[in-house]
Structures are given as structure tokens and as C-alpha cells.
Symmetry: C2
Subunit: 224 residues, 2 copies
DNA sequence: ACCAATAATAACGTATCATTTTTCATAACC
DNA sequence: GGTTATGAAAAATGATACGTTATTATTGGT
């Protein structure tokens, strides 16, 4: 009987290390091209090298770092072209997620969406910009999970993290954050109202706008 | 089968182990629920446990095995529901790939497609069923790569492997293989002729048919 | 200034120890 | 007599330390 294998949920050192290093990359502590030396990390975290290596390999297969055999590990150096490619994929998959979210909408998810909408609206009125990042994360994951498709959730989360780590989105200056929030509200309202095509359309526009904002921020960055 | 281990020290051991174990899962040698014991594998391949573990963790992050801390690793037990979910994702992404393939079509890719079409046609006429599996693989990867989107290629390859490993497609008996080949030919012809919408439409139908064939084969399997 | 030889460094893989889980046998209880 | 508890032994994973090999940096010589 293989049943009770999947139940338990303990946390191992390598799991913590993985989360830790990934966070450092997502937060920009480790930047593209930085070398991640096993021994240094091991000393820094006061553990042996094995869990470090396991975490690094895991990060590699998700595209966050790049390992060159016999040389070492560096934080992935993602080109703008690749980021734009990821936006293209996101466009397809978030539209799919929106469609599925409408199809599979149940009462529990519905109330989650409504709660989220109100939260975002309150945040916008108070102009609590500090909460924008967390809220953005929360909205995305609510949308991703409400599609009720395990693999889709994993892929979208991965791509979303990827964008977070490597696309330095210049939100604050462009006022894109507010616009993005409002787009999200409309998307969520469409889902709650079960308007499939509207939800798909709004999602497509939303990603398109995000992509444009990214391209814009890249251009500005190059000029200086 | 495990003989050629000492030759070619060019790539690392963990890389070979990863490919080896993944192949065993894809070929059905290791089935869902099977335990993968580090020590057993290490003895079987005559190496130490470290490279085995690295390979296993890598397989985990791609969804082929499942590890439970302090307990061990088992080959993922994928439900029919999850397979169908993956078909849903494939539908979106292969349609996207078809669209991109048309948009980014260049002469080199074009001739590859034409060569592939002829190859498949010849194979169909001769009824060389043994080649079907390889050809299917070849066609898919030609389509995936011609979208010229690195991440999309990775995701599609992963999902394709996933289907291969866990959906036991009953091709031969249903005549689905021939039908699938013909669908592929039409898709590739549409791409070569730069008919975007036709390529998208045919791809969508193709995945839909594959999904139906899978569901059919599952039903039959349950009856016996 | 450039090339070769050597030393230092870091990744790769093995061996070993420690901890946890599982299994199996014995015993107690219903 | 059969089922469940308990505990010790075996087995498997988690982590560390160590040796080896390959790459990189440095030094010395031409």
C-alpha cells in the first residue's frame, strides 16, 4: 500500500535552503551573472555543501540559475528577448486560467474573489503603495489556483516568479501599478459574473499592457 | 542495458543518471507507485548515492517522481484527471506554438518541415508502424523548436514527456496513430503555407482528438 | 610581453556517520 | 486463538567529511 506516503509534510534543510536562495534571487540580492559558490553558501548558512548543491540543481531545472559542469553555478542571465518570450506564454496561459476559473467557479472561490476585490479597492483608495507587491502576488495566485489545474498552477507560478526575478518592472514611476490593479479588479469581476469571454479578453489586454510596460522600462533603462 | 556506463566521461555522472532514470520511467520500466531506493539504484549502476539523489531531485521538480522527506522517492502516480488537465494546457500552448511557427518561419525551418512531411508520408504509405513513435517525437520537437521561444520549448517538451510517461496511449488498436500522423501532416502543411489560423485550428482539433483517444483508452482499460 | 609549469581553488564523487522510519517478532490482551 | 501493542533490529534517508579531478590563477623563465 503506497497510500500514506503522500500525506506527511516535513521540512528538510535542503527545502529551506532552496526557498532561501530562491528568495534571494527573487528579491534581487543575487543578481544575474553572480557566482554561487557552494562552499561560500555553506559557510554563510552554517551547513554542509550537500543541501546547497541539491537546492542549486533544483533551481537550475527551473531556470533560475545556470550550472556549467566542472565550473560552477551562476545566477541565470536572462535576456530581454527571453522575458518577452515569457510574456507571450503568460498571455496564453493566463487567458486559459481565466477561462477555467469561470468554468469551475464555486461559491468558496467566488467569495475569495469578492474579498480580494474589496481588499484591492481599499488599498487603491488609501494609496498604500507598499502593499501593492504582496497584493499582486495574492491576486495572481488566486487566479492561478481557481483554474483548478495542478500543472497549470505550477507552470504559471514558475513563470510568474521568473518575471519577478529577472524583469525589473519599473512600476512606481509609470503609475503602472495602479493601472495593473484596476485591470485585475475588472478581470476578477468578470470571473465572478461568469463572463467568460470578457475575462479572457481583459486578461489578454492585461498581459499585453504588462509586456508593454516592461519594454518601456527596458528602453528607459538603456538610455541613461 | 546498464552496461555502457564507463564510456564517455565527457558529461557528468549525475547527468547520465538523470537521463537513464528518466528514460526508464518514460519507457514504462518504472511504473507509477514504484519505489526508487537510492541504495538499490546506486548498487545497480555501481556508483555512490550522491549522483542518484541529484538526479532524483531533478526528476521531482519536473513532476516525474515524488519525494517525501525521510521516507523516500516513488514514481509519480498521476491520475487520469491530471493527464486530462495536461491536455488542456497542451491545447493552449501547441496552438500558440503553431501560431509562432508561422510568424517566425524562415527558409531553413521551412525545408525542415517539408522534409518531415515527406518522411511521414513515406512512412504512412509503407505502413512502417514501428517508426511511428520516433516520428511523432520528431514532429513534435520540430514544431516546438520552430516557435523559436526557449521557455515554450522547455515547457512543451516537459509536458510531452509527461504524457508519454503517464498516459498509456492505446494507439495501435484504435488506428489513432495513422490519424494522428495525418493530422500532423496537415498542420505542418498549413505552417509551410503560412496559413496561421488554419494551423491554429488544426492544432486545436489535433489535441482535442488526442485527448478523446486517451479518454477512450482509459475507459476500455477500466472495463476489462 | 608571452608561454609554460606549478600552486590554489572549487566542483565532483565516495565513504561514513547519524537520525528516522519501517519491519518483524514477541508478548499481552480481548 | 486471533488481534493488537510494544520494542528492538534492519534499512533507508539526511547530512558531513574527505579524497580526487579539473579548472583557474599565479609565478617564473625565456
Amino acid at each position: 500500500m503506497v497510500s500514506n506516503w503522500t500525506e506527511d509534510n516535513l521540512i528538510s534543510i535542503r527545502e529551506r535552503v532552496y526557498i532561501h536562495i530562491k528568495d534571494l534571487i527573487l528579491e534581487g540580492e543575487f543578481k544575474a551573472g553572480d557566482r554561487l559558490v557552494e562552499r561560500e553558501l555553506a559557510e554563510r548558512l552554517n551547513i554542509s555543501r550537500t543541501p546547497i548543491r541539491e537546492a542549486l540543481f533544483r533551481l537550475e531545472s527551473q531556470g533560475f540559475v545556470k550550472t556549467v559542469p566542472r565550473k560552477g553555478v551562476i545566477v541565470a542571465d536572462i535576456s530581454e528577448k527571453e522575458i518577452i518570450e515569457v510574456f507571450t506564454i503568460l498571455s496564453s496561459l493566463e487567458v486559459l486560467a481565466a477561462k477555467l476559473a469561470v468554468q469551475k467557479l464555486d461559491d468558496e472561490t467566488k467569495s475569495k474573489f469578492i474579498a480580494c476585490i474589496n481588499k484591492v479597492k481599499a488599498c487603491l483608495q488609501d494609496k498604500r503603495e507598499s502593499d501593492y507587491s504582496d497584493l499582486h502576488f495574492e491576486m495572481n495566485h488566486l487566479l492561478y489556483s481557481s483554474a483548478k489545474n495542478t500543472k497549470l498552477y505550477e507552470i504559471l507560478s514558475g513563470l510568474s516568479d521568473y518575471i519577478k526575478a529577472f524583469a525589473k518592472l519599473g512600476y512606481k514611476k509609470t503609475g503602472r501599478a495602479e493601472q495593473s490593479m484596476e485591470e485585475h479588479i475588472k478581470i476578477m469581476e468578470a470571473i465572478v459574473n461568469q463572463e467568460t469571454e470578457m475575462a479572457e479578453f481583459l486578461t489578454k489586454i492585461h498581459i499585453e499592457n504588462s509586456r508593454k510596460a516592461y519594454i518601456e522600462s527596458v528602453k528607459k533603462g538603456e538610455k541613461k
